[in-house]
């Protein structure tokens, strides 16, 4: 597998992200309700995400050799007191090694979040039926913490959503 690197998302990424967000199949897999998104709306959204934020980090996942932009990864909802953040991963390009690239990107982002930002807990929401995303988190040592029954609506049905999480020191059971 070719190594990946992360870089800040940029305004040049607009067309790529616009294409991914209007790909119904891809959005369904991510668990969000599908919305038609105009190029203008995507640009506004992207500019908002690109502005410096203390609670949101938005990054592009790129292949080392070709610099091809294959997906996005980010930490949002950062709570500096509880020192946690929510991870989202989108692999936009249909690559054979997509899951392995997702894992590599998650490891890089986890290092950044823990070593450079000082976060101590990360969590994510994943559709229970989304084996691809579950596989990425599980391979990186994450735990299923909760199953929110019928929490999402996608493809005409209410679907279960799983909360996955990882605590850097494995949690502190002596505290509670």
């Amino acid at each position: 597998m070719e190594p990946v690197y992360l870089r800040a998302l940029d305004i040049d990424d607009l067309d790529t992200i616009y294409r991914w967000h209007n790909n119904r199949e891809l959005q369904m897999q991510m668990g969000g309700a599908f919305r038609y998104l105009s190029h203008a709306a995507e640009e506004a959204r992207l500019r908002e995400r690109l502005a410096y934020s203390s609670t949101d980090v938005a990054l592009a996942i790129c292949l080392e050799g070709s610099s091809q932009h294959i997906g996005n990864i980010g930490v949002s909802e950062i709570d500096w007191i509880a020192r946690h953040g929510e991870i989202t991963i989108l692999i936009g390009e249909p690559l054979e090694q997509a899951e392995a690239y997702g894992q590599a990107a998650l490891r890089l982002l986890t290092d950044h979040a823990v070593e450079e930002m000082g976060l101590r807990r990360l969590y994510a929401f994943v559709l229970a039926e989304d084996a691809f995303s579950m596989g990425i988190y599980e391979a990186c040592g994450w735990t299923v913490e909760a199953t929110l029954r019928e929490h999402a609506f996608a493809d005409g049905e209410f679907k279960d959503v799983v909360v996955m999480g990882i605590c850097m020191d494995g949690g502190t059971p002596e505290d509670h």
Partner: protein, 181 residues
Amino acid sequence: MEPIYLRALERDDLERTHKWHNDRTMYRIMGGTFHYVSRAAEEAWLRKKEAYSPTEVMLAICVTETSQHIGNIYLRNIDWAARHAEGQIWIGEVGQRTKGYGRAAAELLISHAFEDLGLHRLYVLALEGNPSIHMAETQGFVREGVLRDHVYVAGKFKDLVVLGMTVDDYRRARPRAERGQ
């Protein structure tokens, strides 16, 4: 007659919500982060919250007999596609706790969510060990999991319990007659 009623939050409620938001003991029960809140900040918050919002319902809990405003109850993060929302409740008046008002208010909010708004699912987050978890379970919420070390309260990282109620849970727990139909 119900022991309490719900009404929309109003600007006149400022005095009380300001006092409650500055009560650090409440945050130790609720699991949120305590902040010192100025009167001006509270007023700005209340002005924002009194405006109509499609994603939030912010209500005051009042004692029927005296009209005393004793706490607030909310539906937040309403998602109209997934038709779910998060419920939150606090009885700010310390002397009015443990009188069953919270349970009665939650019951009214639950039926508002399912009968008036047509929601499909409610969820609540509570500090592990909080008695409100048991209350929620007796009202038809199901414990769905634990977010480990998710909040920082009184010097420690603590677990947060997620409880959920689908519309099926709601209908199962309440016979038709009881739902006022």
